[in-house]
Symmetry: C2
Subunit: 354 residues, 2 copies
């Protein structure tokens, strides 16, 4: 153990609230011309985008529920706390602009972990041109909590709600099941690593297999489909869109409900991540069921009217290689089913928090 006074050994309890805010303030790059008052006053003040609507969302990551410090580095956690909110804004067809961060810190947390949390969040923010404008820090008597609010903007007629129409084709970006496979891999290897008492996620082994490493990365550092969401909104190619935080099956069920339709998904079309497919198969499970119920992929599910397929070709060209796969359709019949080997079965149910 290093002494509480040393740079690496300093804990949150030793630093004090003002010193922590100062540490954060020095890490945050200056905002653009639209930021009138930034971090340090009672509230932030910013100029909204001209002629645009505000998109508002908030999502919390709680230790023990959404992350485990044995699996994720502080920078991973900071990244993910912003990413899940950006994903929500993107799924409305919006562009994320501003972020607020509420940090609830256990007294024993090393201050260098707070720095790393911020770095993970700010790296993503800088890449997506999002300004961290404020927030608050408080002590937590329990778990580490990061609650992020993102404010974005969208042009009035380009909003993508969850409500599509019967007959719309359903598409999903990227692939599904990767984050769950990554999490399961981490769980299995952390059980092994307890014996060797790995002190910190940073020293946890990562898969040597590149394809499984992708799955672990997807779980630890999901990449929100920020650009694609904005393109889908701008081109008005999609009639509805949402992001997959709680799994594809949950997404399809929710979109059907919002659309007052049913849905039919074709198992043979599902873009299941290859390493996830192999992993779930090896565990003796149903790879399709695992892939559609696994959360945390943060891909976009969207509906496209058959009449607008032409617009979708334009989206494919602009998407810079982001895969988009047709997986089924919204149906007038209100049931939500999975076609597999010529038989229709109910879509497995998704993740629930309680």
């Amino acid at each position: 153990m290093s002494s509480p006074g040393s740079a690496t050994g300093l804990r949150v309890a030793d630093a004090g609230e003002r010193a922590l805010i100062e540490r954060i303030r020095t890490r945050v790059p200056p905002g653009g011309s639209s930021l009138v008052v930034g971090i340090g006053d009672d509230a932030a003040v910013a100029m909204p985008d001209r002629g645009a609507l505000q998109v508002l969302t908030t999502d919390a990551l709680i230790e023990g529920i959404h992350f485990d410090r044995r699996f994720s580095t502080p920078a991973d956690i900071g990244h993910k706390a912003l990413a899940v909110n950006v994903s929500d804004v993107a799924s409305m067809g919006g562009a994320s602009r501003l972020a607020l961060l509420s940090l609830m810190l256990p007294a024993e947390l090393p201050v260098c972990d707070v720095d790393d949390l911020l770095d993970g969040l700010l790296d993503l923010a800088q890449r997506l041109r999002i300004t961290l404008v404020g927030g608050n820090i408080t002590r937590s008597p329990g778990p580490l909590v990061l609650d992020v609010t993102v404010i974005g903007s969208v042009r009035p007629r380009r909003i993508l709600t969850r409500a599509g129409r019967p007959g719309d084709d359903l598409y999903v970006t990227g692939c599904v099941g990767a984050a769950l496979a990554g999490l399961e891999w981490l769980r299995e290897h952390s059980e092994k690593s307890v014996a060797s008492s790995a002190p910190h996620a940073a020293s946890l082994p990562r898969p040597t297999d590149a394809s499984m490493a992708e799955c672990v990365d997807r779980y630890c550092r999901p990449e929100p489909r920020a650009r694609l969401g904005a393109i889908l909104g701008r081109t008005r190619a999609a009639t509805a869109c949402m992001d997959l935080s709680d799994g594809l099956a949950d997404g399809v069920t929710q979109m059907s409900s919002a659309s007052q339709t049913g849905a039919r998904i074709d198992a043979a079309l599902l873009p299941i991540h290859p390493a996830a497919h192999t992993w779930f198969g090896r565990q003796g499970g149903d790879a399709v069921a695992a892939a559609v119920t696994g959360g945390d992929d943060y891909e976009l599910l969207f509906a496209v009217s058959p009449k607008r397929r032409g617009r979708l070709r334009g989206v494919f060209r602009e998407a810079r290689g982001v895969p988009m796969t047709r997986i089924g359709a919204l149906t007038a019949d209100r049931s939500v089913g999975l076609m597999r080997d010529g038989r229709l079965e109910p879509l497995p149910t998704g993740f629930v928090h309680f």
Copy 2:
């Protein structure tokens, strides 16, 4: 104990996330014409006020740090979670418009407590014409946490930062020390009530003395100075403003720091709540020190240039009886002092979270 299935006995763990969101959605009144997408989609969408800047703030209330369920009813906690954010927006000269609520709920929490939390928050929201546009619910493995984000608006030249000028007079609204006295009263009486095993804050005794009851109310349900903050901004009577979340001494120190000035406070001018004065005196303490370091009053501290005293008279007329008391001034000398009985002493230090 009632059964988990009964209306009063239902716990959060029994209800499920979607059912809880539905319960909240049915409680929230419909938004005005500026709300394009409300609760239930990936994010909310709203039209910003024309020609106005956005004011953004977030603040969390954590069980065991900011509130105690033995002292505060669920409705008190819901009220306060919104009030502390509205107070921040008001202290920038802004008007609160939209709110987002992040709820982190222990599995054992009764669902009727969640309803009451919402009612407390929504009563204040309705009174101040704030629309709850979204949020998220998740399970908490530890304390109950409410994290609220408020988005307000302010006209470009009417922003009140914390930065005043040397020579500005300092004013405070209402009175100070009340919330701390109220909290101390509750602590003393909850220790007594443990013996009688009061099951719930709603059944805790409240002071029979009307003046002390005011103090307890101030602690449990602070009334943000929403209207007065907006008036101070609109009339441009104040050069600087902030709210007193962590006590007057902390506020004066922070405003001095932001102003690159010092400050001189006159103990004889301090509007200490009479019941608080009596309470602190009876405990054998220094009533002035207790009143200036006690947090949670959520009054406004503001600076007024002597040249603008005329404008302040207009504010007094508009303020509908909200008391405003001159307590000292910002000084070119960088020290922050308290004049008491003809002697200058350092201002006692305020509340720190860590």
